[in-house]
């Protein structure tokens, strides 16, 4: 496999393989010097056509810990603002000598388009495209749950028997799309809870249960996966107001009581406190995994880079 564009492309065996490799990089991350020479001499370019400091830093950290060289391209400060096309940008960066592009774009499908413009053997990694896909987020969410439950991904990573709820704006969420693939691939049952206007078209064809009654769903969940709800959805008139949304689907203090004490809580960040979740839940619930998700994000991205670029090399 040359590219990582979606988790559907990766398939069940690919997902399990990346999670197994992640175990080894979590161990590397715990070393005094968390760095291995596996990708020495390789160059990766982060091309973020949409602002995202966190994901870019996570990829950059991952590449550096593998001893790869990193080139950073950020749309805001580039010639894109002078009218250079996406294709010209990619071809220009490629001319500097690049083994992998890490691409984020606000439009769905751009990483796939980019694969048409790169030389053979150059990898494209999707770091989030539009509402479509965010494969490394899906992998790190799955890994974090495996780790919490089993201590590690192990030989046969599994979320068998787990009931995972995704709460929030599913329709516009690339995280939700990738999470659903990752979680169901590992045997979990997934319920999505959102108002009808924040669900994708034909969501009933997805391998998920759909609920509009969060109060009924919450006590049944082993994992509460919170997703962002952005102000602009209100501007699109998909919800009457944030207040109205919170009343039905926000994790208010009262609703937080319905979350089981042993349930796990995840969030891809950045958290908009007060909208999707009251601050007290994140600060006081014993099983909030947000920080661990960030830590594991680096290890998962190391695994992805290693898997795509490090063939035949030992991790050591």
């Amino acid at each position: 496999m040359t590219h990582l564009l979606t988790l559907e492309d990766l398939g069940d065996s690919g997902i399990a393989e990346i999670l197994r490799i992640t175990d080894r990089f979590v161990e590397v991350g715990e070393r005094a010097i968390p760095r291995v020479p596996a990708l020495r001499g390789k160059t990766v370019a982060t091309c973020f056509f949409e602002d995202s400091t966190r994901t870019r830093m996570s990829f950059e950290a991952a590449a550096k810990r593998l001893s790869a060289d990193v080139l950073n391209f950020a749309a805001g400060s580039s010639s894109l603002s002078k009218g250079e096309s996406l294709r010209d940008t990619i071809e220009t960066v490629q001319a500097m000598g690049v083994d992998a592009f890490i691409v984020r774009h606000r439009s769905s499908g751009v990483p796939l388009q980019v694969t048409n413009w790169v030389d053979e053997g150059v990898s494209v990694i999707n770091a989030g495209d539009g509402w479509h896909s965010h494969p490394t987020q899906g992998l790190l969410d799955a890994y974090t749950l495996c780790e919490r439950i089993h201590g590690s991904a192990g030989e046969n990573p599994s979320l068998d028997g787990l009931h995972i709820g995704l709460v929030g704006d599913i329709r516009h969420s690339r995280v939700a799309r990738s999470d659903v693939v990752a979680f169901t691939s590992l045997g979990a049952t997934v319920t999505v809870a959102a108002p009808p206007t924040l669900l994708p078209a034909c969501v009933r064809e997805w391998p998920v249960t759909v609920s509009h009654d969060l109060d009924a769903v919450l006590p049944t969940l082993d994992v509460v996966g919170l997703l962002r709800v952005q102000q602009e959805r209100m501007d699109d008139a998909l919800i009457p107001s944030i207040h109205d949304y919170v009343q039905g689907y926000g994790i208010t203090a009262e609703r937080a009581e319905l979350i089981r004490g042993d349930a796990l809580i995840t969030h891809p960040g950045p958290v908009v406190r007060g909208i999707e979740v009251v601050a007290s839940v994140l600060d006081s619930h014993p099983n909030v995994l947000v920080t661990r998700q960030v830590t594991n994000g680096v290890a998962v991205r190391m695994a992805v880079l290693f898997w795509l670029l490090g063939s035949g090399v030992d991790i050591t």
Binding site: S85, G130, S133
Partner: protein, 425 residues
Amino acid sequence: MNRSCLISGGEVLTPAGRTRAEVLVTDGIVAEVAEGLTPGDDVVVLDASDAVVTAGLVDLLPRLGGPGQEERETSVTAGRAAALGGVTTVLVASEPAAPIDSVAALRERQSLTSADVHEIYCGAITVGHGPDRLAPLGELAAEGVTAFSDGGCPVENLDLLRNALEYGSVLGATFFLHPEVPDLGRGGSMHEGSWSGRLGLKGRPAIAEILGVQRLLALCELTGARIHVHRVSTAAAAALVVGAAEAGLPVSCGVTPHHLVFTDADCRSYDTMRRFDPPLRPAADRDALAEAVASGAITTVCSDHSPHTAQSKELPFDQAPAGAVGIQTALGVVLGDVGLDPEVALSVLAWGPGRLLGDAAAGEISPGRPADLAVIEPEARWTVREGDLASRSRNSAFSGRELTGVVRHTVVGGRAVVVDGKGQW
């Protein structure tokens, strides 16, 4: 210019059927149709053996570029593409960049006429395709304009549309209308459904078209104006129009070749050559439309020829312009992928559109008729190569695909503009 030519050895195919005959063309008109005619001196012979001789295709919705859009298409390149596709007449759309919304604008557009295809001009319905004022329908009609349309855009101000239909209903006008209700799914880049949900693209729901058609049918009933719904893309909308026509309303509808071939699933590679307006629909719609064409319920197929630069088609799917070049490939697609019989294909590509533009005898090849003819090998196959496309833009949805039906010769106004598949320019 060759004053006379003899199309020899072919089978003449008209709405009346097929006959083995030669066709002699003199001074731009058909002079004689009979078997066994032999060429006199100075007569160019066009070999039509193993081929059919038919009236040239009439394309109702090509976008030919125009002032300020020369990087996409010019009337010269569009005319050549048309001729190579067997098209002898095009209905030049009023386009947002150059609306034909005054007699002066009509004259300016007429000055850009291609030498290789007849152009009939479509007047705008509203000034500047805008929400405020009616275009001078009467003045344009007095200049010979019988077709009116605001291009691919719906007239959003319904008062204005109703008034245009009433005003135009006594001018012998035909209104070519785009049915979609733009507020529903505005900004969507593909059909709203299973695939848009999976691909994370904003969708345009089928009901936007269905409601739009219902609205047009109600206005048709109210005003009595002649309406042709340019490009239906859903089975339900087509059924509504066909039902209304059967009930006696002066309404008809057309489709594009690509809606008879592709489906919304073809957007899954985010290939911007699959972005269309209206969007590609699910297979059930495609199949129902193809059936309606085959049965004669849908009366026209228009190329919806939309040239775009390579750079604009390299934008992300949700930002790239919709549409593809298609005037050169329409015949090959409906005979090939769609698999229509030549009679049906010519009915929707030539005869039906010709009648809609006021030529009651469209398709007939008889003495005195204009010599706008195509000689076609209905079963010959060819593969679409970008380099063979005459359009200035190369954004074909059919690149690399094998089509059926080769245009051997095209005669426009008595002049052979394509001979043995080669443009004579």
